[in-house]
């Protein structure tokens, strides 16, 4: 343990929320049973929505392509089950509004095995066809952002990637899906990392893991095949250690310049879930049709780590976990620091959904707000060294343009400031309102 502590890397600022991971960190990943109805939204990644290639009434197989990329920043979509396309139309989405999706009814008698089953000879693929394959496989960033993975892997000419950084920090409280994935599938993780490393031409793979997961660090180290250039780096337990720019700072000591990307400091960052999805596609022919997520929080009867077919209604996931406790008040998709609340149990599990967290009255009662006393706790929390208290003040006065001068768009909405504020000022919400106003006004002026 002592040597481990010496090796822990760090970024500056950040916060230390209680991590609440003991609810699920020792629970092996279980597969949820198939249900009848699935909804696959066409826009479950950042970018252009996918274009359906099936029609209502058509029979589809599990793993079959049902929508193709609608552009470069877009991905393929595959049927999570063998069954029949019921409807292509608007379904209630995670954000509360309607969005186009493909509704599929599962075949009650299908075995639900993936037909494809065979991998691809990834070594003989050119870089272009490799990237296209990732796009068609529907793989997106599995940490929560759901940014298409192939876009991240497309490096412009002349830019060199030296390090492949695999993000196993899992700094959000409650979530243990990445932790379990690393424990249970270290071979797949290392295989996927090697595929990506070779395709990017990177010198080494670095797997960054928060030091509160010593078993994952140990197990991955044991599985590293001889000759594969992999380093596992234990990181200090601190939120937001898993934000990619913070992690780069922790591991390599480099700051990604504002407005630039990790590749500008020769690093490519991918979440462990993304890397495993890449291995599953290239080695086992399995496109992205299911994902691991954590169901936890004080309102869940039996918390669990689950492997869930995409498009499964949250209602069925929660039912599998014994249902909601009586005092459940709010359901968050993702982590408690950056996740999004959902308005209905009927929304589907998406590619970017790392957790379904159920909270009760204790966490969601309205907190009394006090005046800002300029205590500076938010400044000491902000990993970007911004001045959140000033943002809150300016946003309340609707002085949005002044906020631009103070680099509001450098804010990644990690929530550290709001977590730290003793006056319960909803700083992140105010910042989001301001950003929204600034971007929309720009559009209407434009």
């Amino acid at each position: 343990m002592k040597s481990l502590r010496l090796l822990r890397r760090n970024f500056e600022h950040g916060v230390h929320p209680a991590h609440h991971k003991n609810q699920t960190e020792d629970l092996p990943i279980q597969r949820v049973p198939f249900v009848r109805d699935y909804v696959m939204p066409l826009g479950q990644h950042i970018g252009v929505p996918s274009q359906p290639v099936v029609a209502a009434g058509e029979r589809v197989l599990r793993g079959q392509l049902i929508a193709e990329p609608g552009g470069f920043v877009s991905t393929g979509l595959h049927s999570p089950v063998t069954g029949t396309v019921r409807e292509i139309g608007d379904f209630r989405g995670v954000d509360g509004g309607f969005a186009p999706a493909i509704g599929i009814e599962a075949d009650a008698f299908a075995t639900q095995q993936v037909e494809a089953g065979a991998g691809t000879d990834w070594q003989s693929l050119s870089l272009e066809s490799f990237i296209e394959a990732v796009q068609m496989a529907g793989i997106v960033g599995m940490g929560g952002a759901a940014f298409p993975a192939h876009v991240k892997l497309s490096v412009p000419d002349g830019v060199r990637i030296k390090h492949l950084l695999v993000n196993g920090a899992e700094c959000e409280p409650y979530l243990t899906n990445d932790h379990r994935l690393m424990l249970e599938r270290p071979e797949a993780l290392l295989e996927g990392a090697e595929i990506v490393r070779q395709k990017l031409g990177a010198e080494e793979t670095v797997i960054g893991i928060e030091a509160n997961k010593p078993d994952a660090i140990e197990i991955i180290r044991q599985h590293i095949p001889p000759g594969q250039p992999v380093r596992v780096v234990p990181l200090k337990v601190k939120y937001p250690q898993g934000a990619e720019k913070m992690m780069i700072k922790s591991v390599f000591g480099k700051e990604v310049p504002a407005g630039q990307l990790p590749r500008d400091v020769e690093v490519n960052v991918n979440n462990v879930g993304t890397i495993v999805a890449i291995a599953d596609y290239f080695l086992r022919g399995m496109p992205l049709i299911e994902r691991v997520l954590t169901v936890a929080g004080p309102g869940v009867t039996y918390p669990a780590n689950l492997i869930v077919p995409l498009g499964t209604p949250v209602r069925e996931v929660v039912r599998f976990c014994g249902g909601l406790k009586g005092d459940s008040r709010e359901i968050i998709m993702g982590g408690p620091m950056m996740g999004r609340p959902i308005a209905s149990l009927d929304v589907p599990v998406l590619k970017g959904c790392s957790g379904v967290l159920v909270f009760t009255k204790a966490e969601t009662s309205r907190r009394k707000e006090y005046p800002c006393i300029r205590c500076g706790r938010c400044l000491e929390a902000c990993p970007y060294f911004l001045n959140p208290s000033r943002f809150a003040r300016l946003a309340r006065a609707r002085m949005f343009d002044d906020m631009k001068a103070f680099n509001i768009f450098d804010c990644v909405e990690c929530g550290c400031c709001t977590f730290a504020c003793p006056s319960n000022i909803p700083i992140v919400q105010l910042i989001r309102t301001a950003k929204d106003d600034l971007t929309h006004r720009k559009e209407s002026d434009g």
Binding site: P257, D264, M337, T364, I373, R374, F385, F419
Partner: protein
């Protein structure tokens, strides 16, 4: 039977918070001041109680009177009014008439806080503004000091009970403060007396050790920016050390300067008021050094024996400017693109 779904709330993330709230932080400062308050009762008896009580009553009355009708009980709940009253009371001489103390508390909140827009908006430390008002209005009463440990706990200086606008003569044994004795009589008070409180002075400034104790509590609770007291005290120590190189007999020693007068009370409890001090770490250092230099300039070269109040008020005025020029470098900005 179909079970009804719960009505789901849509509270925005982050759902988690650290445990500290603003009223709790205020209470912490009150707790930290308890030892020094108890000491003032020990040294000055019931008089201390009367003065502190009057200040707090004045402060709380102003807070209540000027608050919005709907928010009245709320504005008292954050304890900031009580804290201002107590802090002001601790800076007052023990023989001060109660009505003056009451007026000081009232002015501290009304002119020091409410008029600026309430908690969080004032430029100057309210307690010190109240004290400045009293010093300007009642210069004699504010500079008449009685010796501690008079006639036991139950005794009250009759001057405490003077009626409004009837300036009573202080009847107790008057005693100069250590700084006054140094300035006007070139007489040095033993350090042990300064530390444990056997000196003349205002209610809360007599016992340096107890003030330090409260400061350590606040630091452990992360309620105060340690940079401010540390930079103030270091500046004073260095300033004195340099002066004593020139003439060790004429100028105060570093330890004497730290433990005499209101320096510890000001450095730990007043200069660190988050509302009126810089939020940036570099700003905190500049602010502290500024206070330290001003204190020593006033004490050594000015016409007054003590300068902590004016030093802090002056640096309060400079706080917005300091904040503006000491913003930290934003992550990823100002680094060279590779």
């Amino acid at each position: 039977m179909k079970k009804k779904d719960p009505d789901l709330l849509l509270f925005h993330a982050p759902l988690l918070r650290q445990g500290m709230t603003t009223p709790k932080a205020m209470l912490d400062v009150l707790y930290a001041l308890l030892p020094a308050t108890a000491a003032s009762l020990w040294f000055f008896g019931l008089s201390a109680l009367l003065i502190l009580g009057s200040c707090i009553a004045g402060a709380v009355l102003a807070e209540w009177l000027f608050a919005d009708r709907e928010a009245r009980s709320e504005s008292l709940r954050d304890a900031s009014g009580v804290l201002t009253g107590l802090l002001l009371g601790l800076t007052l001489p023990p023989g001060l008439p109660m009505w003056m103390a009451f007026l000081g508390g009232f002015v501290a909140i009304s002119l020091g806080k409410v008029i600026w827009g309430g908690l969080g908006h004032n430029l100057f430390n309210p307690a010190l503004l109240g004290r400045a008002f009293l010093l300007a209005t009642f210069p004699i009463a504010m500079t008449t000091w009685v010796a501690p440990g008079g006639d036991g706990f139950a005794s009250v200086y009759t001057s405490n009970l003077a009626l409004p606008f009837m300036q009573a003569q202080v009847d107790a044994v008057t005693s100069a403060t250590p700084l006054g004795m140094l300035k006007f009589d070139q007489e040095v008070t033993p350090l042990a007396n300064l530390m444990f409180g056997k000196t003349g002075g205002s209610l809360g400034e007599t016992s340096g050790l107890l003030l330090l104790l409260g400061g350590i509590y606040l630091w452990l609770r992360r309620d105060l920016d340690w940079r401010i007291p540390v930079s103030i005290l270091l500046t004073v120590v260095i300033f004195c050390a340099v002066l004593s190189l020139f003439d060790a007999t004429r100028f105060p020693t570093p330890l004497f300067s730290v433990f005499s007068g209101g320096l510890l009370l000001g450095a730990i409890y007043m200069a660190t008021d988050p509302v009126t001090s810089p939020v940036t770490p570099r700003g905190a250092w500049i602010f502290g050094i500024g206070v330290g230099v001003l204190v020593m300039l006033i004490r050594v070269f000015g016409g007054l024996p003590e300068g902590v109040m004016y030093a802090i008020l002056l640096m309060n005025a400079a706080t917005p400017l300091i904040d503006r020029y000491t913003q930290p470098r934003v992550f990823g900005r100002g680094v060279d693109s590779p």
